[in-house]
Amino acid sequence: MTGPALISVLAVWVVGWFINARLAVSRMSDARIIRVLVPVIFGLTLLLIWELLVRMTGVSPIVLPPPSMIAERFANSLPILWVDFEQTIVKGAMTGYVIGMICAFAVAVLADRSDFLTRGILPVGGFMAALPIVGIAPIFVKWLGSDWESKAAVVAVMVFFPILVNIVAGLRDTSAMQRDLMRTYGAGYWQTLFKLRLPAAMPFIFNGLKIATTLALIGAIVAEFFGSPTVGMGFRISTSVGRLALDMVWAEIVVAAIAGSTLYGAVAWIEGRVTFWHPSQRK
């Protein structure tokens, strides 16, 4: 590494860190604005260092495109990025997510009536959730064709198990006292389910739904590595990697990051509305 490059990188780091260290111990450090500002400064510092490293040292921008180049590529490829987003996120990931969620709810409610079944489903479902299920992608592509239907199926299977396990576990998570109370009212199964057990299970259920948003995106993108029409984020990533158009790959990853945090944020927002009563949500 050349001397000027090293010095300027170090300088950026020191300045960025100095600002953050001061902000973090300042009297205002609990203010919302500071809490947002500090990670943003940190992120910008890293981006600046990245940019400087690529520009001032001999690294080829083809191998490691600087942030400015990625931003430019992003801005110039919006139409392509948008159709890829539609194909992979809207059609593949979100359809699969909804299907998997509905199936998980159906199975959970069916199994819930039998203690025997729930005791079997919890460990088996937990076990399945830890397996590399993305691997079924080539099989589903064979069965359902290379368009988004096969991706939605992969996503549905991937999100099914974590959601199922969380619903079943959540439905079991009522205290003996709460169940006794319902018994003193002579409440039936469905009344207990809707008035007590489902509301009490909501924090668990949303935990499963949040884990599943990330899984859905992973499933939809990775499944495209096994075959897709000539559109989609996974398709674009694998072909662009092949052509060494890494700025395009980065642009797709930016899309994936925005989509991932937006979906997660949306589920978390609904969670906040639904489980406002839970200690973790109270201010």
């Binding site: 079997g120 993305v134 691997g135 990697v241 994936a256």
Partner: protein, 306 residues
């Protein structure tokens, strides 16, 4: 062990559904094959048969049902075919042979383990830094949490290519992917664990005028162990998925991912299925090892989970 019987029941139910599904899934292929072999098939032309569902065709040709379980290249292999393929490629081949799933498994597993070791070490160190330095906490923690909502696995193909440009190939690029996939869960879990002692426990140490390093070794670190193991289990499965996916788009010639791709491209579904199940067994074994270590450690520490 009162859950054993329910678990076996669920597993048996899954197997039964699988076995039943084989018939309609494979019936079209079986019918085509039977016709070539000169058997009577209803209806008689493949074009007409396309109009039938797998189930309808199965009812029309009940006599062919046994044959659906013995196709060479089935759409859905039956459990015994997958088991047979695995037995052949795991037990009957020399482990250094390219035909051996043990060989391919080791290629993937070694990258997974190296990456996991790197990722968790860095993750723990960063977590310690985050707990002790407020600036670090405020700068890094939001990004670590955000990383959990992003499909960072999508970076995998690019990392392979980037490192390839620098002449780094083989195990290391895959290990890097495994490392960063296991890194973030460990950071988040470990920070949570190091922060888990409550105010009363921290106050107790303050009444002893304990230094912050004493507080770390005597309270924070032991308290974080259950959280650490929970993160390990998430991290190791993520690391394995990372290593497998890293083998996919780059035409790797060895590893579970490569086997899945080979089976896919050469139209040999048994290879894909065997690799898939071998990967699943590997993942289950890794998680089981960490669960056993967790039990043992927590019992030793007197924190045994019930």
């Amino acid at each position: 062990m009162k859950s054993l019987f329910p678990i076996l029941t669920i597993v048996a139910a899954i197997l039964v559904i699988w076995v039943l599904a084989v018939v309609p899934m494979n019936m079209h292929l079986t019918a085509d094959q039977a016709q070539r072999d000169g058997l009577m098939v209803m209806p008689q032309t493949p074009a007409e048969r396309q109009g039938y569902s797998g189930l309808g065709l199965s009812f029309a040709n009940a006599g062919l049902i046994p044959l659906t379980y013995t196709l060479d290249r089935p759409r859905l292999p039956s459990p015994h075919q997958v088991a047979g393929e695995m037995w052949e490629t795991i037990a009957l081949r020399n482990v250094t042979s390219r035909q051996s799933l043990v060989y391919h498994g080791w290629v993937t597993l070694s990258a997974t383990l190296v990456g996991f070791a790197i990722g968790t070490t860095l993750g723990i160190l960063l977590a310690v830094g985050i707990v002790h330095n407020r600036a670090m906490d405020m700068s890094v923690m939001p990004w670590a949490i955000a990383s959990q909502t992003i499909p960072i696995l999508a970076l995998a193909p690019m990392i392979i290519v980037m490192m390839g440009q620098f002449g780094i190939q083989g195990l290391l690029p895959k290990a890097v992917i495994s490392a960063y996939l296991s890194f973030f869960p460990v950071v988040v879990g470990m920070v949570k664990g190091l922060r888990s002692p409550d105010a009363m426990q921290m106050d107790l140490l303050r009444t002893y005028y304990a230094s912050s390093s004493q507080g770390f070794w005597k309270l924070r670190l032991p308290a974080s162990v259950p959280y650490l193991f929970a993160s390990f289990k998430i991290g190791i499965s993520a690391a394995l998925v990372g290593a497998i996916v890293a083998e996919l788009p780059t035409g790797a010639r060895a590893g579970f991912g490569a086997r899945m791709l080979v089976g896919d491209q050469y139209g040999n579904p048994l290879v894909t299925w065997a690799a898939l199940f071998a990967a699943a067994i590997t993942a289950a074994a890794l998680v089981a090892i960490f669960t056993a270590m967790e039990r043992l450690t927590l019992r030793r520490m007197g924190m045994a989970a019930a």
